[in-house]
């Protein structure tokens, strides 16, 4: 049975549609991440699940029960807020046990629950402090502890890490993942950080303008995006979108990238990836999507079978990140980013021969931005 099912949910503020017919279903123990740019409706959807805002139409089921019109308290959920929302006048201990107290759990059990989560999150030494005396990371832990104490059916995390500094954010991310693996809880997690989405999720819902564009595993969303928005949103540095023309070449196709003043770059489309629709795109502009890691130096072999295609371009900027080097290369009308190994000795202005892994390339319609192949 689905732990959480969202069925045709719409939400309107006046004439503005914030959620347009959203449907999602996740199983017990699954980690769902709602990701998208600000204003895409992900927080509204979260509030609708929590019962903090009523939906205009549609239904929400938790553990098979219709909770659409229940109060937040009656939904058996817990939420971790972006600002943590710790009760400022209460100690950490009181913060954690407040929800249990409101649910009339006997004092002894409350104490037990507090000890359990404090132990789990290593905040036992902070129990008597007030929130104002805690650092950002400690507040974050207390906020999670407050959610964990009640052992609800579904946990909601609303951008819980966005107020932490970069290093702490990575640490807490790992910790949330560990907690999830250990406790097997059902989690809905809102973020605008695609790295958080990729690393944590069992299932990612990419949202934009109140719609879910794609719902799938991190691997599906990353390697098999449905359109240019999803492709561009997931991954950092983001996918290169290269304007090209699809031409016939023998049995198959070739992509011609116009480079003024030089010979056009021709990239053959792998025949095993031909799809029926491509024929209609012949001689029309098309968008070729290649991630930075789909490029490599000439002497790096992709695999036993795949040779890739060689292509030459002039390097304009070299950005070493330590683990690898990001190269910026003008190609046709745009500048592309390629990720090469850290040993690559190249200076700006030099020409470089790159191997392109066309087997992993994707094609988009230039007008509708939808995926073609």
């Amino acid at each position: 049975m689905a732990a959480l099912e969202i069925h045709n949910v719409r939400k309107e503020f006046g004439s503005e549609q914030v959620l347009k017919n959203v449907s999602i279903s996740i199983d017990s123990g699954e980690f769902l991440i709602l990701v998208g740019p600000s204003g895409c409706g992900k927080s509204t959807l979260m509030n609708a699940i929590a019962g903090l805002e009523p939906v205009t139409s549609g239904n929400i089921y938790i553990d098979g029960e219709d909770v659409t019109w229940r109060t937040p308290a009656d939904r058996d959920i817990a939420m971790v807020f972006q600002s943590y929302a710790l009760y400022p006048s209460m100690t950490v201990r009181q913060n954690i046990s407040f929800g249990l107290e409101m649910r009339k759990v006997p004092k002894a059990e409350r104490e037990q629950a507090v000890e359990r989560v404090a132990d789990l999150l290593q905040i036992t030494h902070l129990l008597e402090r007030k929130p104002a005396q805690l650092s950002g990371g400690q507040r974050q832990r207390v906020a999670m502890g407050r959610a964990l104490a009640r052992e609800p059916k579904v946990y909601l995390f609303d951008e819980p890490l966005s107020n932490l500094d970069a290093k702490l954010r990575v640490d807490m991310r790992t910790e949330i993942k560990k907690l999830h693996q250990r406790l097997g809880t059902t989690i809905v997690y809102v973020t605008h950080d695609q790295v958080e989405a990729m690393t944590l999720a069992d299932c990612i819902a990419v949202m934009r303008d109140g719609n879910i564009l794609q719902l799938g595993t991190p691997d599906e969303v990353y390697n098999n995006p449905v359109d240019m928005f999803v492709a561009g949103f997931m991954g950092s540095p983001s996918m290169n979108f290269i304007r090209a023309t699809l031409e016939a070449a023998g049995d198959g196709y070739v992509l011609r990238i116009a480079t003024p003043g030089e010979d056009d770059v021709l990239l053959p489309w792998p025949s095993e990836r031909n799809v029926a629709g491509l024929v209609e795109q012949l001689d029309k502009p098309i968008i070729l999507g290649l991630r930075p890691e789909h490029f490599s130096e000439e002497d790096v072999r992709l695999s036993e079978q795949a040779e890739g295609t060689l292509m030459e371009a002039k390097v304009s900027v070299v950005e070493p990140t330590g683990a690898d080097i990001l190269l910026r290369l003008p190609l046709g009308e745009q500048e592309i980013t390629a990720r090469v190994g850290p040993k690559c000795a190249i200076a700006p202005g030099e020409r470089l021969s790159l191997r392109v892994d066309m087997a992993r390339a994707v094609l988009f319609d230039a007008e509708t931005e939808q995926r073609l192949a």
Partner: protein
């Protein structure tokens, strides 16, 4: 306080000196009426007629204070303003408590439980801050008559509560706007209801604005004269009205020392409130959001 970094040149020191000189003069000028009142209130009558306003009392006496408290004539009765002093307390304390409580609940509801038209309700309440007292005298008299509480303490309390709510609501609303809504959302998810959230989450952090509201209401109601004179009977008069009667009741010679002592007595509670809670007043008015 951050110190201003500045080189101590002679010119700068002179400027500083001048600045302080002017400020000290202004402060002295400001406190002068109080000093004169205080001095006059402890002089015997003979000294007042012989000396000047600023001459120091030669034989200080508390007799004028005793007379003002217990014997001076206010109109037809001659039992001082002591009784009216307690009258004022009997009116002010319930009025302050009730108006502050209602203001807090209003502010809470208007910010954390928004409803359709809550902004309009707030705008109308704000408008209430600008209604002149004189405008409502007649309708209020009529209303108190209908309710059967005209000329009673209860009537005066009601009037002050009704007028005070506009201000207290404004105070609490502006304070609660700065408290993150997520706190209330979290408490809702934890299972707390309207009053529980107010009592357990918001009220414990409201001390600064409660102080502001109490001081403001206390001074306003204590110092009120118009409502006091319009809606009270001789036995329910607040001290301000009694003071006026005392000063205006002439029995031959004018007893300035008694008048001054009575005025000091009437002003004392507000002074005490300011001295005790003044710093919280400023702190509360400038208090922003509470970090959770």
């Amino acid at each position: 306080m951050a110190n201003v970094i500045r080189r101590q040149t002679p010119a700068a020191r002179l400027g500083r000196g001048l600045l302080y000189g002017v400020l000290i003069l202004a402060a002295l000028f400001y406190i002068l009426p109080l000093v004169v009142m205080l001095m006059t209130s402890v002089k015997p009558l003979s000294e007042i007629s012989a000396g000047t306003l600023l001459s120091l009392p030669q034989n200080p006496t508390l007799e004028p204070w005793a007379k003002a408290w217990g014997e001076a004539c206010t109109g037809m009765r001659c039992d001082g303003i002591g009784g009216y002093f307690w009258n004022s307390f009997a009116i002010v304390i319930p009025a302050v408590l009730i108006s502050t409580t209602i203001g807090a609940l209003n502010g809470y509801a208007l910010t954390k439980w928004r409803f359709k038209g809550s902004e309009l309700v707030f705008a109308l309440m704000l408008f209430g801050c600008f209604i002149p007292f004189q405008v409502v005298l007649l309708p209020m008299a009529q209303t108190l008559g209908w309710l059967g509480i005209s000329s009673s303490r209860a009537g005066l309390i009601l009037v002050h509560v009704v007028f005070g709510i506009a201000f207290t609501t404004l105070f609490f609303r502006n304070f609660y706007v700065g408290i993150p809504n997520e706190l209330v959302s979290a408490a809702k998810l934890d299972g707390a209801g309207f009053f529980r959230i107010f009592w357990r989450i918001l009220l414990p952090v409201s001390a600064p604005i409660i102080v502001v509201s109490v001081i403001w209401q206390f001074t306003q109601i204590w110092n009120d004269f118009l409502f006091g004179v319009a809606f009270s009977a001789h036995n329910t008069q607040p001290v301000t009205v009694a003071l006026n009667n005392l000063v205006n009741t002439s029995t031959g010679v004018r007893e300035y020392n008694v008048d001054m002592a009575a005025a000091m007595i009437a002003a004392l509670p507000t002074l005490v409130v300011y001295v005790l809670a003044g710093k919280y007043f400023v702190r509360g008015l400038t208090a922003g959001s509470v970090k959770g």
